[in-house]
Subunit: 203 residues, 2 copies
């Protein structure tokens, strides 16, 4: 029954998905975090294969051509993406994999046939999301308005997801994501044959 | 978002579903347990509307004719069933309802269109189920063989359920059922419109 499962966790920027994922990772050794590939230069303290897989543009483009990414995007002249092979290897080993990703990326993963549980992290309200963006204190009013309109556009994809979790109380949000992860493993779906075989041996 | 959900918990006799349900009920006041109706006489200490709804055969048959049961069965000349109205009332009030029921009853509820999460409690193995039946110490060998063959027949319905939970470690089984109950409330399904409306008010 050891069967890894992919959990795609996304939501608008500043909703707190990074913190939720970090806490879940810290609480379990059975879960792996998908590592992104990028063509940008490593910053101080970043290690290849831990922070990111650092690739040259040529390597990245070749990987795109070979269908080596679950999703990828070009941002300000650099490429970012989720390499397919490491995720598939972990799943085959029976490990759960978390992919923390923006909505556009999550939709790419889904369209490329990435089977998994898609979880959307929501703010308690749009007002509260605005507060959280404001609290970072680094944004101009124009930038905030842009982020808010981007967030609204992302939330419109909610019905393409399997689950939603409202990040009001952080610990409650973490526990709820964990419950979804437990529950997903208990789904019968295509497993019933394997399960039934186990109980065929009536003595 | 207050929306009650029906959890149908079933599995073979002696698998421990009664204990699991009792522990879940004890740990939460937000969950209601569906109360069965029966035509058998009340035993000492049993209260109408708490232990069972005690009905006459005439009342019971009239209720059957009026489609008043989610499921019912005749056992040794007495009728047992799950009245539809109290369950629907609780769900409408936003309460979760647990229906602990044998596989035959669960399949009747499902066929009558009872929307809910169907959870099958499994033993760790058929050998262990036999041990648990044996440990009750009240059964002849023939009765045990009959129960085992009945259990095997019930487990064959596994693929009609949404979730399975193996009752090996009791506390783990309880926690897993609880996780499924939490997770079911986070499903987006038909909720996305209500959710989206909430986030339409971008300020």
């Amino acid at each position: 029954m050891a069967e890894g499962r992919l959990f795609v966790i996304s939501g608008p920027s500043a909703v707190g998905k990074g913190t939720i994922v970090k806490e879940i990772m810290a609480s379990s050794t059975d879960i792996s975090l998908s590592i992104s590939a990028t063509t940008r230069s490593p910053r101080a303290g970043e290690t290849d294969g831990v922070s990111y897989y650092f690739l040259t543009k040529e390597e990245f483009k070749e990987k795109i051509d070979n269908g080596g990414f679950l999703e990828w995007a070009e941002v300000h002249g650099n490429y970012y993406g989720t390499p397919k092979a490491p995720v598939e290897k972990l799943l085959a080993e029976g490990k759960d994999v978390i992919l923390e990703i923006d909505v556009q990326g999550a939709m790419q993963v889904k369209e490329s046939g990435g089977e998994g549980a898609y979880i959307f992290i929501l703010p308690p309200s749009m007002e509260e999301l605005k507060n959280r963006i404001n609290n970072r204190g680094t944004e101009t009013e124009e930038a905030i308005a842009l982020r808010m309109s981007k967030a609204a556009g992302e939330i419109a994809y909610l019905d393409r997801y399997d689950y939603y979790v409202i990040n009001d109380d952080l610990q409650e949000a973490i526990d709820t994501v964990k419950a979804i992860m437990v529950s997903e493993h208990q789904k019968i779906n295509s497993k019933s044959e394997t399960l039934l075989a186990k109980f065929k041996e009536v003595k």
